[in-house]
């Protein structure tokens, strides 16, 4: 094996590339969010921290805080993503488990199928769904013929029979659909690495299959679950096109849509940048949680 300094040297350009592009981008957002505007409300970024102006940040905070104008959007976003993540876990875990541990010679095929969706970009696939789910679309006709719309109506999850008519359930399912592969792949890797001998030992010592799963497999796959969860939670919070394409109604707008509205729209780009900063700060919580569990896993491995 090459000495450590070789790898350090080889990784340096890549690390520099990632760091520079991330930091510069993020700093530009900060400079605008903490910047100023001209008398014509054109944003003027303040690159020097000594010049920072917290007016917009304060306004964004009061908008997004409980009782603020955008508070309902915050609640809605958290709710949608919580439900979407729970569904992702329920759908994704069995698939990852099966592919990693039971599929035998089919495991390669299943993995290939999981990667398959990336052949076509998420937006293109959503655009296809907008046609399938339109009231005269095949998917929508099939679902309604099966009575799924009536079931959802009875459960209070849907209103009417128009799947694209501002239905939270459509937005949530679309989020799950879009992000579930990102959850499965890291979980698959983690389950695949799981030491078979530990499971055998558990069975040999008299644990039932269910108990083995609960007390051995599940705890050991926890880092994979967390990794998958964080990997999908971060982009979901910034996602705006899923909602745009699947609903477009003010009733289902998420935080990403509001930020997009400020940034694309009129003379309030600084407020949009400040909101982006707050969202990033909020997502840091997830990141910290993930990094902590990663470190714990490493410690345990040692």
């Amino acid at each position: 094996m090459a000495p450590r300094w070789v790898w350090r040297l080889l990784s340096a350009p890549g690390l520099l590339f990632l760091a520079v592009f991330f930091l510069v981008a993020f700093y530009a957002v900060v400079a605008v969010g903490l910047g100023n505007v001209t008398t014509q409300f054109q944003p003027v970024p303040h690159w020097n921290p000594l010049d920072w102006n917290v007016g917009y940040l304060r306004e964004a905070l009061s908008n997004l805080a409980p009782g603020g104008q955008m508070w309902p959007v915050v609640v809605r976003t958290v709710l949608y993503i919580a439900v979407a993540m729970a569904l992702t876990l329920l759908i994704g875990y069995p698939v990852a488990y099966y592919a990693a541990r039971c599929a035998g010679r089919w495991s390669g095929l299943i993995l290939a199928l999981l990667v398959l969706p990336f052949w076509i970009s998420y937006i293109m696939r959503l655009l296809a769904w907008t046609n399938l789910l339109a009231s005269d679309g095949y998917a929508s006709e099939a679902l309604n013929a099966l009575g799924v719309d009536r079931l959802f109506n009875t459960l209070g999850l849907m209103e009417g029979d128009d799947w694209l008519g501002g239905q939270p359930v459509t937005v949530i399912i679309a989020l799950v659909y879009g992000y579930v592969p990102f959850f499965i792949l890291p979980l698959y890797a983690s389950l695949n690495r799981l030491d078979q001998r530990l499971i055998e030992t558990s069975r040999d010592l008299g644990a039932s299959a269910a108990e083995t799963f609960r007390r051995v497999i599940l705890p050991l796959s926890r880092p994979g679950i967390y990794a998958g969860m964080v990997l999908i939670a971060l982009p979901m919070f910034g996602d705006y096109f899923t909602q745009d394409l699947m609903s477009g109604s003010p009733n289902t707008n998420m935080v990403g849509n509001i930020i997009n509205g400020y940034v694309q729209g009129g003379p309030d780009k600084s407020l949009g940048a400040a909101m982006t900063m707050l969202l990033s700060a909020f997502l840091l919580i997830f990141m910290a949680f993930y990094l902590r569990s990663l470190r714990r896993e490493q410690r345990e491995a040692e």
């Binding site: 592009f21 510069v24 981008a25 993020f26 530009a28 957002v29 605008v32 100023n36 505007v37 001209t38 008398t39 014509q40 409300f41 054109q42 003027v44 970024p45 303040h46 690159w47 010049d51 102006n53 007016g55 917009y56 304060r58 908008n63 603020g68 104008q69 309902p72 959007v73 809605r76 339109a134 009231s135 005269d136 209103e159 009417g160 128009d162 694209l164 008519g165 501002g166 910034g238 705006y240 477009g248 109604s249 003010p250 289902t252 707008n253 509001i258 930020i259 997009n260 509205g261 400020y262 940034v263 694309q264 729209g265 009129g266 309030d268 780009k269 600084s270 949009g272 940048a273 982006t276």
Partner: protein, 441 residues
């Protein structure tokens, strides 16, 4: 609005002029694009506080072009046109000299989606040895944001009356050489030879006309067009979830203003805008509107049954988007004849155009009577203001179904139009914040 407070500029920088170099902004732009693109609109924040109009306005008809003449001005200091207050835009740069059109390569066009007949584009391309490539935008604000970053380069830009002054103010358009566009004089309606938004004209040629009104499916909806028109949306509880509101802050808030009887569609009165937003929120609570601009597609297929649409949407629906089992007679349209919005889109040439002479030729081509007709009735459904294209004969020749006759605009109606036009930056902010409040749901 709960919060209209503006963070006060810090004392150090009461008015920023020179602190930011173009280069630093472009660096930021590249980085932002990598940062997910969400903030791509932030860049190009170069100073716009110097009134451009003051610099080079000379020679215009009347008082216009003089920002000191009073009346509202836009962010670049250009007076805001009103239908009764025509504006001569300041000349920035020189029109291109006549010459050989730049053949070969790509002529880049920036436009709404589905707003140009591909057959027309191909024919122009073949005739002139150039490939016409259309990039599309969803909203004009999005288009302006992207254009002002300087990252997108186009030859031909489609836009509207309320955008034109800020495009000129940001130096994104070049003055046109009308000698290269003889079809303007030859074919376009008299009322648009020297329009109020661009006296001269200097920067634009008109493209298509439209009114804003209510479109509905008369086979699925019982609606009496005799009732006050804008009430139709608020009274549509029965069609909850299948009612469209235009995804355009001006048009959407405008509908609420008109319903309240307000005739100034460019009002900057906070009380009026706040009331309009409250009405829109109530509308959404009661009717759960779809906020979209694709009524031309959703109305004929029944995905919406009633909605705020542009007149061209129902014509386009009848021409291009009818499913087999829906007759064109199932579509109806009504608009507010007194004081309702009647406007036109226009075409300009980008200041940074690589093929300015070819772009002129393209504008001239679209104003050819036969081409304009083909573009209109074979695809776009929005009517061009061309003399040879007469509303009465379109109906007689069964090109347009008679039940949609009122979706066609006449020169007389246009001459007495009301319109959504440019706002001062404070006004823009007022409308935009109201719109965001509505979008919070």
């Amino acid at each position: 609005m709960n919060d209209t407070s503006v963070p006060s500029p810090s004392e150090k920088h009461p008015e920023e002029h020179s602190g930011v170099s173009r280069r630093s902004l472009l660096t930021g732009a590249g980085a932002l694009a990598l940062g997910g693109g969400a903030l791509a609109g932030l860049v190009g924040c170069e100073d716009t506080t110097t009134p451009v109009a003051a610099a080079g306005a000379g020679g215009g008809a009347g008082i216009m072009g003089d920002p000191t003449a009073g009346g509202p001005v836009d962010p670049a200091g250009i007076p805001l046109a009103r239908v009764d207050y025509p504006v001569t835009l300041p000349l920035i740069g020189d029109p291109v000299k006549p010459g050989e059109p730049e053949r070969g390569g790509v002529l880049r066009v920036y436009n709404y989606a589905d707003y140009l007949n591909p057959a027309v584009l191909n024919a122009f391309g073949e005739e002139n040895g150039v490939k016409v490539e259309v990039s599309t935008f969803e909203t004009l604000d999005e288009a302006f944001s992207k254009l002002s970053t300087g990252g997108l380069e186009f030859d031909v830009i489609f836009t509207t009356t309320d955008q034109i002054s800020r495009l000129v103010g940001r130096k994104l358009l070049q003055p046109l050489n009308y000698d290269l566009i003889p079809n303007l004089r030859k074919n376009v309606w008299d009322v648009l030879q020297s329009p109020y938004y661009d006296v001269g004209p200097r920067y634009t040629v008109p493209y298509v006309l439209f009114t804003t009104g209510i479109g509905w499916r008369n086979d699925l909806v019982s609606y009496d067009p005799a009732e006050p028109i804008w009430d139709a949306l608020w009274d549509a509880e029965r069609y909850r979830g299948k009612v469209q509101l235009l995804n355009d802050p001006r048009e959407a808030i405008g509908a609420a203003l008109m319903r309240a009887g307000i005739t100034n569609l460019n009002t900057e009165n906070p009380a009026q805008i706040e009331a309009a937003i409250r009405d829109l929120i109530k509308l959404n609570d009661d009717v759960r509107v779809k906020v979209a601009i694709n009524g031309y597609e959703t109305l004929p297929t029944g995905r919406i049954v009633l909605g705020e649409v542009w007149s061209g949407d129902v014509l386009s629906a009848a021409i291009s988007y009818l499913p087999k089992d829906v007759p064109a007679t199932a579509l109806s349209y009504v608009y507010q004849e007194q004081g309702g919005p009647i406007a036109n889109d226009m075409i300009g040439i980008a200041a940074a155009a690589q093929k300015p002479v070819m772009a002129h030729r393209f504008l001239n081509y679209l104003l050819d009577a036969d081409v304009a007709l083909e573009n209109f009735v074979d695809f776009v459904g929005y009517q061009p203001p061309i003399r040879g294209i007469d509303p009465a004969s379109l109906i007689k020749d069964e090109v347009i179904p008679p039940n949609l006759a009122n979706a066609l605009v006449t020169p007389e109606a246009f001459a007495s139009a009301n319109a959504f036009l440019g706002l001062t930056v404070t006004g823009q902010r007022l409308w935009d914040r109201g719109w965001q409040q509505f979008r919070a749901g």
